[in-house]
């Protein structure tokens, strides 16, 4: 399957702007399906962005984040061509990782 992470990182001056879109159901555990059964919680617990081995963004997420989350932030540093590694782990132990080049 294709990666669940889309990322775009652009360096301008001394900051890098990062945008990412992650495909994940982010079930809160409070929603019922069509038959009335609770859909068990299934959400990303930790999301990390690393640039050159250094964590630049770390998020501890819970059930309040929406489905297919979109995230945007910028950090100081990062040059064109640097590797940006993105990874997430969810409450069921599933995870995904991808690496993108800063543009």
């Amino acid at each position: 399957m294709a990666s669940t992470i889309r990322v775009r990182a652009t360096a301008t001056g001394d900051t890098t702007e990062v945008q990412a879109l992650i495909q994940h159901p982010m079930d809160s555990g409070f929603v019922k399906d069509a038959k009335g059964n609770l859909i068990p919680p299934h959400f990303i617990q930790q999301l990390a962005f690393e640039c050159d081995g250094k964590t630049v963004f770390l998020a501890d997420w819970g059930t309040a984040v929406s489905k297919d989350p979109y995230i945007k932030f910028s950090f100081k540093g990062g040059n064109k061509g640097d590797d940006l590694k993105i990874s997430w782990v969810d409450n069921k132990g599933a995870s995904d990782t991808t690496t993108a080049k800063i543009q």
Binding site: A2, Q19, L21, Q23, K67, D68, Y70
Partner: protein
């Protein structure tokens, strides 16, 4: 039993029937001028929103409100339909079990043809929509049909719309009374009030586009299908034209029809025709 009233009733009924049958074709001939309808329809919207160019209407509510327009520009940088688009591309390229593929069912291999759908099939005497054509393609090749509402069907139509972006809607009404009747039927469906709220499609999408319905800004009917399928944040996912029609019907507290029923196909025919000339912008994203 006295026969006379019965005969009188019968003759009245007969008289009415002849009157109706005489009046209907004449009435239909008077009003059925699709080209004039489309012109009037587009004029109505361009007069109502003088600042907008015709092509702006394909972005629906995002063109009507500055604040939302800014959100849209940002959203388009990283559109939420990207995952679906990629899935559609993969599905489209993957052959069926018999070795054939979707490309074999469509002109030009299915690339850049969205603007020609729906079309009127003179053999069948009915309107053929893209969603219907896709499922027929599957069935002709021994595959099970897809649900019309979302997921795979939305992904496929998203990919086909994407390859047709910018091409103007080019819906034709052939010289066939049944085609004209389908157009008229779609028009009638569009303007007929229904449901417990007694709304027609036009109540929201012709009378009140740009107004708020609770937190939503109503989209203009002009260009509304150009952006299909759409990722709706409200749905938390993708939806097809079938999903749009059925959910509109249930939101007015009416009973939705079966997806791809004759009425919906005629409605899609009408709505697409009156948006002729406006570019395909699908897949779209809506709040």
């Amino acid at each position: 039993m006295n026969l006379r009233p019965a005969i009188r009733l019968a003759s009245v009924a007969f008289g009415l029937a002849t009157l109706l049958s005489a009046a209907l074709p004449a009435g239909a001939a008077d009003s059925a001028d699709p080209a004039a309808d489309a012109k009037a329809f587009q004029n109505y919207f361009t007069t109502k929103f003088p600042k907008l160019k015709l092509a702006d209407f394909v972005n629906g509510p995002y063109s009507l409100n500055e604040d939302m327009h800014r959100q849209w520009v940002e959203k388009e940088e990283f559109p939420p339909y990207e995952f679906s688009l990629e899935m559609g591309k993969e599905m489209f390229a993957k052959p069926f079990k018999n070795g054939k593929g979707y490309a074999d069912c469509f002109d030009n291999g299915g690339i850049g043809v969205r603007q020609n759908y729906p079309y009127f099939d003179e053999k069948e005497g009915k309107v053929i929509t893209l969603e219907l054509a896709l499922n027929r393609c599957r069935e002709a090749n021994g595959e099970a049909p897809l649900s019309y509402m979302k997921d795979e069907m939305a992904a496929l139509t998203a990919y086909m719309a994407f390859t047709s972006r910018g091409k103007p809607f080019d819906i034709k009404i052939p010289n066939d009374p049944r085609a004209l009747a389908a157009f008229e039927n779609g028009k009638q469906y569009f303007y007929t009030r229904r449901g417990q709220l007694n709304f027609s499609c036009a109540s929201c999408h012709v009378q009140n586009p740009g107004q708020r319905m609770r937190a939503e800004i109503l989209a203009p009917a002009l260009g509304i299908l150009n952006a299909m399928p759409i990722y709706r944040s409200e749905w938390g996912g993708m939806g097809t034209i079938s999903r749009r029609f059925t959910s509109c019907n249930s939101q007015t507290r009416g009973v939705p029809l079966e997806p791809q029923s004759d009425e919906y196909r005629d409605l899609e025919y009408y709505l697409s025709y009156v948006s002729n000339g406006l570019p395909i912008s699908g897949p779209g994203a809506r709040p």
